[in-house]
Point group: C2
Chain length 193, copies 2
DNA sequence: CTCTTACACTAGCGCTTGCTTGGTTACTCA
DNA sequence: TGAGTAACCAAGCAAGCGCTAGTGTAAGAG
């Protein structure tokens, strides 16, 4: 809804605190302090605490969707390249916008029903892009299996990386993406690295 | 620690509430009511709320580890069969003991440092079993890639199923396990179902 | 018949929570 | 210059929180 620069900055700070402490344990007083204001002033920017959570998740999901669309537009028609590009884009967003995405993945249940209904459309649109790319790979015979199962296994493997991946380590997100694609498409990998 | 039958039953009820409401939003009064006692009486069985969470997670992880060990013991030495058996066992525990495992996966951060240190040993032991099985499959040339990456991708894909799998649907957990194994090992699947 | 143990109760303390209210400040634009 | 507005603050309310203290009761052990 409202997208003032101030509100965007506050949303970013909130995302960080939600990741550090969890949504429920983050008090409006903590949020206010991190933002350099008093707790009462928070409610000038957000109707209630729920709306802050919704703003964080909406921001993250919206970005991910935009990046995925751009990635697919500027991607060649080759199914393997598109699959790899999607995996790379997914991990790239996941780790540049990490806080927002961790919140989206692990605090989703804290949303009230209205917010959930609204945001699940965004999420479904994102997953639909994945199912399309998986479909292309299936049609091309690169991978095998049920389109939904494969999509969900792949997304699960990718999303779970936020639980163990250390950006300071030797591996880049692109390395992870390539390894995953190689794992489900070993025929292409036989002679490679 | 203490494992009276009464306490086990209370732990089971707590797991259910923690899944429904989340740990932080589950009050000791809600827990007590679900158990048919008053909130004060709760603290006869558990030192504090934290200990209930730890009990839930310990119970679930302990079971998973026991089942995985039993599975591997009664499994033939064939790497493919062992991999499939582990995947099936993982999903089976995940969905028979679903509440405890959902709590373990998504409320881990709420544990205090001592409990985390204690329970991460259990979890690491479980993951080590997986790395072994993955290693065997790598050595046999069934799959390719980095042992840790493959283990984590596979565990991620499996754990993520709790987010979307519907036990009332047409597919059994064994179906899921077989599909996943087929996905990362397509050579074996070419002529099959 | 007493002592112990397990389990439960009532009552409430001290604190924190999300949020409201009524008023103040600083900036923008006619 | 003065009206309008966005951003903030001080103060605090009502509700709910985890947890404690002190007591009661029933069953089994000696």
């Amino acid at each position: 809804m409202n997208a003032s620069p101030r509100r965007k900055e506050l949303t970013r700070l909130a995302a960080q605190l939600f990741v550090q402490e969890g949504f429920d344990k983050t008090t409006v007083r903590m949020l206010a302090q991190a933002m350099g204001i008093k707790s009462g002033s928070l409610f000038h920017h957000f109707k209630d605490k729920q709306e802050i959570l919704a703003a964080v998740i909406e921001e993250g999901t919206h970005n991910a969707l935009a990046i995925a669309r751009r990635t697919l537009e500027s991607s060649p028609p080759d199914p393997e390249a598109r699959l790899r590009a999607m995996a790379r884009a997914h991990l790239e967003t996941l780790f540049t916008d990490r806080n927002a995405h961790v919140v989206a993945l692990f605090e989703w249940r804290r949303l009230d029903d209205d917010a959930k209904a609204h945001l699940s459309h965004l999420r479904d649109a994102y997953e639909a892009l994945w199912v399309d790319v998986i479909d292309e790979a299936l049609d091309a015979g690169l991978i095998h299996g049920d389109r939904f199962l494969v999509s969900r296994f792949v997304l699960g493997a990718l999303n779970w990386t936020v639980r163990w991946y250390d950006p300071a380590g030797p591996r880049t997100p692109d390395d992870l993406a390539d390894e995953l694609v190689a794992m489900i498409m070993p025929l292409k990998r036989q002679g490679g690295l």
